[in-house]
């Protein structure tokens, strides 16, 4: 019963922690790689986190959609091997927002370090 409660709380908090973090990570990866396919974004996240931070296809789909809606990235189709493939790149606003977020993330990291002593 207690184990179940702990699992539930952990799952919820992990989800909350990751949902904002994924958007930041996707923007950062796109800034570095310039133009990437959605599959490559997932792969890169997996490589960088040792497989710990890999959103599901559904979660990544929603993140990309939401970032596009906010005007932070744009998508475009490219024909590859007779099949349309969708690639993503940052917009100018996306770059500016990422720069602002970087300061925010830096602040969070320094607070965490101070808590840990």
């Amino acid at each position: 019963m207690l184990g179940n409660k702990k699992e539930k709380a952990l799952k919820k908090l992990k989800k909350e922690l990751r949902s904002g973090l994924y958007s930041y990570l996707v923007l950062s990866i796109l800034e570095q790689e310039v133009e990437l396919h959605g599959y490559a974004i997932r792969k890169k996240l997996g490589e960088l986190s040792g497989g710990r931070l890999v959103p599901s296809e559904g979660a990544l789909y929603d993140i990309l959609k939401s970032l596009k809606k906010l005007g932070l990235l744009e998508d475009f189709w490219v024909e590859v091997g007779g099949r349309p493939r969708k690639y993503y790149r940052l917009t100018e606003v996306g770059r500016e927002v990422l720069e602002e977020l970087r300061g925010e993330v830096g602040g969070i990291i320094s607070v965490l370090e101070r808590i840990r002593g």
Binding site: H37, Y39, A40, E57, F76, V78, V80, P84, R85, K86
Partner: protein
């Protein structure tokens, strides 16, 4: 069974056959039957999912329409509901196909972005033209509204004699608006290049496809305008016949272009 019910039942049977065959071919991609857009042609999984939805949805609303036909619902209301269902099916099917294809995209390995092959599609001028056709028609109808009788002629036989009538609001406003929506709904998805399949038998050019739907839109609005002018006693029914010939000629030409056009837009 009276004439109106017979017409309605005939239409229901057409929709029912379309639904049943769509469901029957949900596991087999083909060029004639089913929800055939780029997303469904490029993925067997998406084809199966969208065509299962489209087949079941068509069968369910066909049975509902059959019930309405036997309840004696007027032809105008029946048509309105039928077109609304077809539009809803188009919208949901396209949305579902796009979402499922894009989800699948995220699980399929892709190479680094090639230097060439970026797909662009601009449908702005076609959308504006179709909106202009609608605006022109609505303006004409508004100007002649008081000259139109309460029941207007909406259908004519081969010799130009009217043989179908409608209430003014239905015949001059709602029906034209709904019919205009069909080519418009077929044009909008073309703004997304993934909507078009990269296969030999599919329209090779977005421009040719939008040209075809725009001619269709212009043609039906021309015919509705002539019908309004006839009912306002401005033109004879013979003019409507000429309008039909012009419309069919333009439609055939644009259909020919659609079949013959190359991927770069040249015939």
């Amino acid at each position: 069974m009276n004439f109106q019910t017979a017409v309605e039942v005939f239409m229901v049977l057409g929709l029912l056959v379309a639904g049943v065959t769509t469901l029957a071919f949900r596991n087999r991609q083909n060029i004639l039957i089913g929800f055939r857009v780029g997303y469904t042609y490029h993925s067997e999984r998406v084809w199966r999912k969208v065509n299962t939805f489209a087949g079941v949805f068509s069968i369910v609303y066909s049975l509902f329409l059959l019930l309405l036909a036997f309840l004696g619902v007027s032809l105008e209301v029946f048509m309105f509901i039928a077109v609304a269902f077809v539009l809803l099916e188009l919208l949901i099917g396209t949305w579902m196909a796009k979402r499922e294809y894009e989800l699948e995209e995220l699980s399929k390995e892709a190479p680094e972005k090639p230097a060439r092959g970026e797909m662009h599609a601009s449908i702005r001028r076609y959308v504006l033209l179709q909106l202009a056709f609608l605006a022109g028609y609505l303006l004409l109808t508004a100007l002649l509204w008081d000259r139109l009788p309460e029941r207007i002629a909406t259908h004519f036989n081969a010799s130009g004699r009217p043989n179908g009538f409608s209430e003014r609001v239905w015949g001059a406003l709602w029906t034209p608006l709904l019919v205009w929506l069909l080519p418009f709904a077929l044009t909008l998805p073309a703004r997304d290049p993934g909507f078009f399949a990269k296969v030999a038998f599919y329209p090779g050019s977005v421009r040719a496809w939008c040209g075809f739907t725009t001619v269709l839109s212009g043609g039906v609005m021309l015919l509705f305008s002539l019908i309004v002018l006839y009912n306002a006693d401005i033109v004879s029914s013979g003019v409507i016949n000429y309008g039909v010939f012009i419309f069919l000629g333009a439609l055939l030409l644009s259909f020919y272009r659609l079949l013959r056009v190359g991927k770069n837009g040249g015939v």
